[in-house]
Amino acid sequence: MSTDKVVKLADLNKPSFVLSDEERHEIEHALTHYPDGRAASIDALKAVQKHRGWVPDDAIPVIAAAIGISAADLEGVATFYSLIFRRPVGRHVIKVCDSISCHLTGYDELRDELEKQLGIRYGQTTKDGRYTLLPICCLGACDRGATMMIDDDLHGPVEPKDVAAILGGYQ
């Protein structure tokens, strides 16, 4: 049994994406740093992600216009970098390093533990919207493997037994 998703009229008529004043201000500020609008692509995407947690499809043409490049070009940038999120993410994003040093120092056990405790796999978000789990390449802390990053905090070395306590710090 499945129920069709209810499409609300209000959703269909929703205005297309509009930048908030803050977002616009930040993008304009980023533009002053570079001679060429294209160079501000990542900053502009990050500005929107900072406020919304992710960058919706509708936002692409609007941000592109704000920095004066084509939507296709900006979409190229926005899909190239894995840390520009193109789907909604949880309040906290957990990134587990799977590069060589961490591979050798127990990354897979760390990942398994996280999956077990959160009940999700890579690319998924917990039902309560609290965590999203993602792989990431070398965090530059190879001496501290196995490492992971939650939001902007680096954790390492992390053993499976530490996971519960660390997660508890992120409501």
């Binding site: 060429d36 692409i60 084509s70």
Partner: protein, 902 residues
């Protein structure tokens, strides 16, 4: 000069290019994907690996990418080396891990570069047995189908579409093994050159959607060397036919004109050939109804009319061949022949011709345009009127990278380095036109003004270059400064170029452009001029020196006459009332391949051949005569089809049983009768040309199913149609390229060479890859520049003074302004809605809002259109899109009165 050693053989080569290009020019095959002769090297695909050695004694060597390695003296390489061969096969096997095994249902199959390269490397077995990555495809509009799963990530598409053609709506998304090439969202690809993706993409990701519904493999089609008739450039095309329909247009390489690329209007505008409503029988009007009649009776009926004692007037056409126009002139007599162009078009075309043959500036070709290092575009939206020129213009701007590479001693074929070095720096291109163009993005400066003011700018530039050319009085300071700036840029260049033409309908603009080119000539012998003219054979008609259409219609209106109109819709050229007045008391005989408004009024209508069913010659904007050859015989599939070239009908009308035997005779007589056409017969080998006693095959040697092609009609296979007019055969039999014997470049029906089924096969027909075809690029120049400069033009026009009435500026559209392509369904989907463009100031003065309907009165016609208020338009101007529904035939420069309301 360089000596290189390839697999133990020594070759003397030019040097300086990359090894891949050098080896291909030597006829040695190295597989490749990301390199393309027009797009240069990026080293992305790793397919072109060869072994390079330090010297003759080095046995070890190392693998290098031939496309990224310069050809220098004393280079030692091996293509045949085992390790390199294995490397190349491995690359294909990697690409194949994600490539679907769908060749049988893939429309690229049979002209696929990936197939060719796979066979070339010997990768015969797929070993990968796992899941392949898949993608969602996009809806990209009426021209291009999208099947992303087939992508091998060579990046050619974006390098062509964005870097070469200046498109902005095709991108690359994702990274690593999950890369996607498409638009940001579904939607029509915007570039006017999108069709080239079908040939640039080495796989079946981008294919020709117009071909899809009537799909035929390349090897099963019949081709002919043909000429695009959708503008005055005269790009060379290869139409492919099966079962009596044109199914696709492919680019036919021409080193000086189209190179590897066509515009979308030319590629996708062939649908008029296949239209169901075309006249295919002889039709005679009886009591207001049209009835099919047999040829003998119809021709007798027409002969009676011609001999009825009324004056007989012939109206030719700039979209009909030289032969057909000439045959009409023969039938009606020189004094009664009209060129079928409006007085304005005829005068302007004639002026262009004068500039080209009375002045010293050489006429630029698209390939020479690419080498220009400073360009002024004066008055002409070439993307709409002569699209291929706009693509070349873009390369001229980007030529800055080549100069910068030379300074930094980086080879300019290193595409990624060149892009990095130049960043956004471009050679100066100045775009002075009445309205914004879609190539303004490459402009160093744009200038928007009405035609007379553009001419004034032009005269001022010429004066700044040569003070002995006429000065312009009363120019405002801003324009005067711009003139100085443009003059300085042109002067500082090595190969300055002026592009103009008949597009803004003003002689003064063309004269000003000529003055600039001539003023430059003294100091810059390489300075060139390029003048776009209205139609595919406009220059040809100018060579006839006949009266214009208005003059002919005035005669017919004054005295009941017999009008014989060849391939010309008079209603598309002049106001309906003017045409009606001429036709009211006249007998009208029409020869055309479309059921135009004029054809519908004919007492007798003869079904003329389109470019696909007949032979003929067109003379392009340079004065280059080029022959196009019949693609197929429609009667082979349907005996009731009576289509024949207009020249053939006219010849039969005039000479009955004594009619000329073939095209060569018509051409010989035309040459004799019209000295201006001298040399035209040499545009291609004549009908008796043979190679080892054989004709040249129109179809590839693998063409299948010939014996069954007509089996649904009659079980016996008839003899294939015999072609008395050319050295080509309607068959796969004859010289087809398999034997390795060169065919003359004018008689190459399709691109195929052993092992090369894709359009990359053209590289097998050039003396040097990317250069001229072996035997020379086709065409004979009938117009040559003079040795010295005539007097400067001196009729500097007065500035436009807005006085209430608005001056009509024709706005040409890439899709919709050209008559025949606009009859093709896919093109129709791209034709914009009609509008009338007003400047912001004029709209405010008239109290007109954007999209509001306005009523326009001009040349005695009143009509209404939605207003488009445009910030780019100068004051005092009404911009009207040429040829769109609801826009009557326009005369540029006429005064229009505009009022609010419908």
């Amino acid at each position: 000069m360089a000596i290189i050693h390839v697999d133990g053989k020594q070759y003397e080569v030019k040097g300086g290019e990359n090894l891949l290009q050098t080896c291909l020019s030597l006829g040695l095959d190295i597989p490749y994907f990301c390199w393309h002769p027009a797009l240069d090297s990026v080293g992305a695909c790793r397919q072109c690996a060869v072994k390079q050695y330090k010297d003759g004694d080095d046995k070890q060597g190392r693998i290098v990418m031939s496309c990224m390695t310069p050809t220098t003296d004393n280079t030692w390489i091996s293509i045949d080396d085992e390790e390199s061969k294995e490397f190349r096969e491995t690359i294909i096997s990697f690409l194949m891990t994600n490539h679907p095994h769908d060749c049988p249902v893939c429309e690229e199959g049979g002209h696929c570069h990936l197939q060719d390269m796979t066979v070339m490397t010997g990768h015969h077995n797929r070993e990968y047995r796992f899941t392949k990555r898949t993608h969602r495809n996009q809806e990209l509009g009426p021209f291009i189908a999208h099947e992303m799963n087939r992508c091998i990530s060579c990046y050619r598409c974006v390098r062509f579409y964005n870097d070469y053609a200046g498109g902005t709506d095709l991108g690359v998304y994702g990274s690593a093994a999950n890369v996607y090439f498409g638009r940001e969202k579904d939607g029509t690809l915007e570039s006017e050159f999108s069709g080239n993706l079908t040939e640039v993409c080495p796989t079946g990701v981008f294919t020709d959607k117009t071909h899809s519904e009537r799909y035929t493999r390349k090897w099963d089609m019949q081709f002919s060397p043909s000429i695009c008739a959708s503008c005055s450039v005269g790009c060379n095309i290869s139409p492919g036919e099966r079962y009596g329909e044109v199914r696709r247009i492919e680019n036919r390489y021409h080193g000086e004109l189209n190179g590897y690329f066509l515009c979308d209007r030319g590629r996708f505008g062939y649908g008029h050939v296949n239209r169901k409503d075309r006249p295919r029988q002889l039709l005679v009007s009886k009591d207001g109804r049209r009835e099919a009649m047999d040829a003998g009776d119809t021709l007798d009926f027409i002969r009676q009319q011609l001999q009825a004692g009324k004056p007989v007037l012939g109206i030719g056409s700039p979209r009909a061949s030289i032969e057909s126009n000439y045959a009409l002139r023969e039938l009606v007599g020189t004094a009664h022949f009209s060129n079928g162009q409006t007085a304005l078009d005829a005068a302007l075309t004639r002026l262009c011709l004068d500039v080209l043959r009375q002045g010293p500036a050489k006429c630029a070709t698209p390939s020479s345009i690419e080498d220009a290092d400073a360009v002024l575009v004066l008055g002409e939206d070439v993307l709409a009127t002569a699209p291929r020129i706009a693509l070349a213009l873009r390369q001229a701007a980007k030529g800055k990278a080549d100069t910068m590479c030379a300074e930094k001693k980086v080879p300019d074929w290193q595409a990624a380095s060149a892009k990095d070095i130049a960043q956004r720096l471009l050679n100066p291109v100045f775009v002075a036109t009445p309205a914004a163009t879609r190539f303004d993005d490459i402009a160093a400066a744009t200038h928007r003004a009405a035609a007379p003011d553009l001419a004034r700018l032009g005269y001022a530039i010429a004066h700044a270059l040569d003070a002995s050319s006429p000065a312009v009085e009363g120019l405002d300071t801003k324009t005067a400064e711009l003139a100085q700036r443009i003059a300085a840029a042109l002067k500082a260049a090595k190969r300055p170029l002026v592009i103009s033409g008949t597009g803004c309908g003003d002689a003064a603009v063309i004269q000003a452009a000529a003055n600039i080119a001539w003023a430059l000539q003294a100091s810059h012998p390489a300075a060139e001029i390029c003048l776009a003219v209205p139609e595919s054979n406009s220059i040809g008609l100018a060579l006839f020196e006949a009266v214009d259409l208005e003059a002919a219609l005035a005669r017919a209106a004054a005295q009941p006459s017999v009008l014989v109109v060849v391939e010309n819709d008079l209603y598309a050229r002049l106001p309906a009332a003017q045409v009606d007045a001429a036709l009211a008391r006249s007998t009208l005989i029409v020869l055309d391949h479309q059921d135009t408004r004029t054809a519908q009024r004919a007492q007798a209508l003869l079904p003329a051949a389109s470019f696909a069913e007949g032979d003929g010659t067109l003379i392009n904007y340079e004065g280059r005569a080029q022959r196009y050859f019949q693609n197929f015989d429609p009667a082979y599939y349907d005996r009731s089809v009576a289509v024949a070239e207009s020249w053939r009908w006219l010849d039969r009308l005039q000479n009955g049983d004594a009619a000329r035997e073939n095209l060569d005779e018509v051409l010989a007589q035309a040459e004799a009768a019209l000295p201006a056409l001298k040399g035209i017969a040499a545009a291609a080998p004549n009908a008796s040309f043979r190679i080892k006693g054989m004709k040249i095959a129109r179809a590839p040697q693998r063409q299948s199913g010939r014996t069954a092609a007509r089996a649904n009609i009659f079980v016996h296979e008839p003899r294939s149609t015999q072609d008395a007019d050319s050295a080509l055969a309607f068959s796969m039999e004859g010289v087809n390229g398999a034997s390795g014997v060169d065919r003359p470049p004018e008689l190459l029906p399709f691109a195929w060479a052993p092992g090369w089924n894709s359009p990359q096969a053209w590289n097998k027909f050039q003396a040097e890859v990317g250069g001229a075809l072996r035997g020379g690029d086709p065409g004979v120049h009938l117009v040559k520049a003079a040795a010295s400069r005539p007097a400067y033009y001196s009729a500097v026009p007065a500035a436009l003074k807005p006085n209430g009435a608005l001056r009509v500026e024709p706005l040409y559209q890439h899709f919709g302004s050209e008559e025949l392509s606009s009859l093709a369904a896919p093109i129709q989907q791209r034709i914009p809605a009609s509008y009338a463009a007003l400047s912001v100031g004029d709209a405010a003065r008239l109290g007109v809002n954007h999209a509001e309907r306005i009523s326009i009165t001009l040349d005695g016609q009143t009509f209404s259109l939605p207003a488009r208020v445009r910030p780019d338009l100068p004051a005092g101007v009404l911009g009207l899109p040429v040829g769109l529904a609801g826009v009557p035939p326009l005369k540029a420069g006429s005064a229009a009165t505009v009022a609010k309301g419908a």
